[in-house]
Amino acid sequence: MNGYGLAEQYSGISNQRRGTKVMDSALIPNGVRRCSLDKFLVALAVVGAVLLWGVYAMLLCWFKGLNQTNMNDNYGFALWIWADLAVIALGGGAFFTGFLKYIIAKDELKNIINYAVLIGFICYSSALLILAIDIGQPLRGWFIFWHANVHSMLTEVAFCLSCYFMVLTIEYIPLILENRQIDRVPFFHHLSHNMHSTMAVFAATGAFLSFFHQGSLGGVAGVLFGRPFAYREGLFIWPWTFFLFTWSAAAYGPCFTLMVTRITEAISGKKLVKDNVVELLAKISGWMMTTYIIAKIIDTFYWANVTAPSKGFNLIDFYSNNGFYGIWILVLEIVLGGIVPAAILITDKGRKSPIARNTAFVLAVIGVSVNRWVMVLQVMAVPIMTFDTWALYFPSWQEVATTILPVAYGIMLIMISYRYLPIFPQEAELNPAD
């Protein structure tokens, strides 16, 4: 059984039954309905136009250099690094859902694991693309592997990120092979079957790699002992941010998977995943978030009262005397983006209410994104020398376009995958043909 047996029971082509046969119906999974090819192509073209805008900006950055951005010598790390950290945290749903499904044996999650993998694949490929734009000498990008400095957190990020992207690709391939026409080829059919049967190994590898690169991304900021806003003590060579980033990616990543699932349901006008599956993942995410936010509060308390004062800073120094970063951002991250969604998702009532649940997903996504923002941009903004000043920055249109580029690419890949691949095993059952 390859996990899509249910869909196979609906061997009739629903689009044909409804008298709305589409030109590419031979490619569409059995038993599900899709919009007309024309409508699909128009939507694809609209998103494609946004993607082309991003590609144009990307080419400008590659050919003319990073002077196309509003980064400067105070802001060597800016919007792109935040986007990298954010999409990798949000893509954490892939490794954690895989871990729960294959290692902890939460079998119900087989109904959402495909989408989690697809979203993870998009997030990680986006991160790699953004990194390729962000470096000053893109043709030397391979130096990070060739001249690797084993003491650098960024080296660990590069290695683990690349390896995990390969794992995600291996996890995504069987899904592509499930396409109706590809599956008809015996070799691909058996390849897909065999890959599915060994997927637990890749899920375990993915969880292992993710632990390190999510952590290393936290370490990128945490090891900066020249930046008191970012610096944290830790365990052996790992600052506390190492563990906090891994924990938060596992906690918040599934919320992003669930949020995107809900958006897909809203756009397609169909229920795609049963509530018990959503509620299970939401419950686990909620408890993970609860434990994370407790650890985060302890970390913040220790940093504010011990670490920062030992460097000559009071907490309020990081949140005053500038036009943007106030204490509100700490409240937004920890209270609105952490405590509130966690409180909603750990209660049965909160999980069962679609409005409360979806609100929690959105708040969680905002919360983890704000955490990554402050750990990149606020780190750069805070003055350290007493005669220095706050440095605020606003991204150029090229930076914005290249950050939207992967979003457009992700939407297109989801559109194509949803149309032609059996992403949601419960779709046919939840939306029976007329």
């Binding site: 250099g65 990073l66 002077n67 980064m71 400067n72 010598d73 105070n74 802001y75 060597g76 790390f77 962000d134 470096i135 000053g136 000498q137 893109p138 030397r140 990008g141 130096f143 990070i144 060739w146 001249h147 690797a148 400095n149 003491h151 650098s152 957190m153 960024l154 080296t155 590069a158 990128v220 090891v223 900066l224 002992f225 020249g226 930046r227 008191p228 004062p309 030992s310 460097k311 000559g312 800073f313 009071n314 120094d317 780190v379 750069m380 350290i384 020398m385 007493t386 005669f387 220095d388 440095a391």
Partner: protein, 262 residues
């Protein structure tokens, strides 16, 4: 004292800058740019994109006339030693494009290996590292005045003060040819040191008792920038004014001024 490191005599080059002597004339900045082929653009109004290996900051005591006071503070790369060469920027570079030289105590930058990730810039609390946002283009004819001993840098890489390392290499070669084991104090001096008309900058081997900096750094009014961070810099500053010394680091309101760690 000089130390033996792997059988080789090592130095720890550093500076002592007397802030009471500095007039803020900027000669050190100009000399540095000329010596090290530092690129510039026609429009340098955006100082956050200007490359100034040596930058002179203007500090004020924040008081009104007649108590107002100012101080100019030249800031080259501080060549942090951190803990056992674990300087903030060296340890983070993913491609080993920057290194702490145990033989000289100088933090180097390998331009041809740097791929421009700018992590080192984020790690440096002194803003001593600069990114080449633009191609280095010299006014017509000026390329003939470039220093042949210093390679110009390309767009997309990070650069910073090297304590005029090419001068160290030349002095070392000369000492070798002259049959000397040690480099004389005068044989290796940075461009900024020589250009300072007030004699505010003194450069040499901090560990060598024959070099002036060895004693100068022990003056009672000495401090280093951001010592609390543990960067363990090799640029010492001297000022008789307490507010200037206090400006060298961040202090909690209730905290007293600390003495430099030698």
């Amino acid at each position: 004292m000089k130390q033996e490191h792997g059988g080789v005599v090592t130095q720890k080059y550093g500076m002592v800058v007397d802030l009471d002597l500095c007039t803020g004339c900027g000669s050190c900045m100009v000399a540095c740019m000329a010596e090290n082929n530092v690129p510039f653009r026609e429009d340098e109004t955006d100082k956050l994109k200007s490359i100034t290996w040596m930058r002179v900051y203007k500090l004020t005591n924040g008081k009104h006339y007649p108590e107002t006071d100012i101080c100019y503070l030249p800031r080259p790369c501080q060549h942090c030693e951190g803990s056992h060469g674990h300087s903030p920027c060296v340890s983070v570079c993913p491609a080993t494009a920057t290194d702490y030289d145990n033989q000289t105590g100088i933090v180097s930058q390998i331009y041809t290996r740097c791929f421009g990730c700018r992590y080192c810039m984020g790690a440096c609390p002194y803003h001593a590292r600069y990114f080449n946002w633009y191609d280095p283009i010299w006014p017509e004819g000026m390329e003939r005045y470039l220093n042949p001993n210093v390679s110009p840098r390309m767009r997309g890489v990070v650069e910073k003060c090297s304590f005029c390392f090419h001068r160290y290499q030349a002095a070392k070669d000369k000492a070798h040819l002259d049959g000397q084991k040690e480099i004389d104090e005068d044989a290796y001096q940075t461009a900024c040191t020589q250009a300072c008309p007030a004699g505010a900058i003194t450069f040499g081997d901090l560990d060598n008792p024959n070099h002036a900096v060895h004693e100068l750094k022990k003056q009672p009014d000495t401090f280093r920038l951001l010592e609390k961070l543990g960067t363990n810099t090799k640029v010492y500053y001297v000022s008789s004014r307490e507010w200037v010394r206090r400006a060298g680091d961040n202090y909690l309101k209730t905290e007293g001024l600390k003495k430099a760690v030698l």
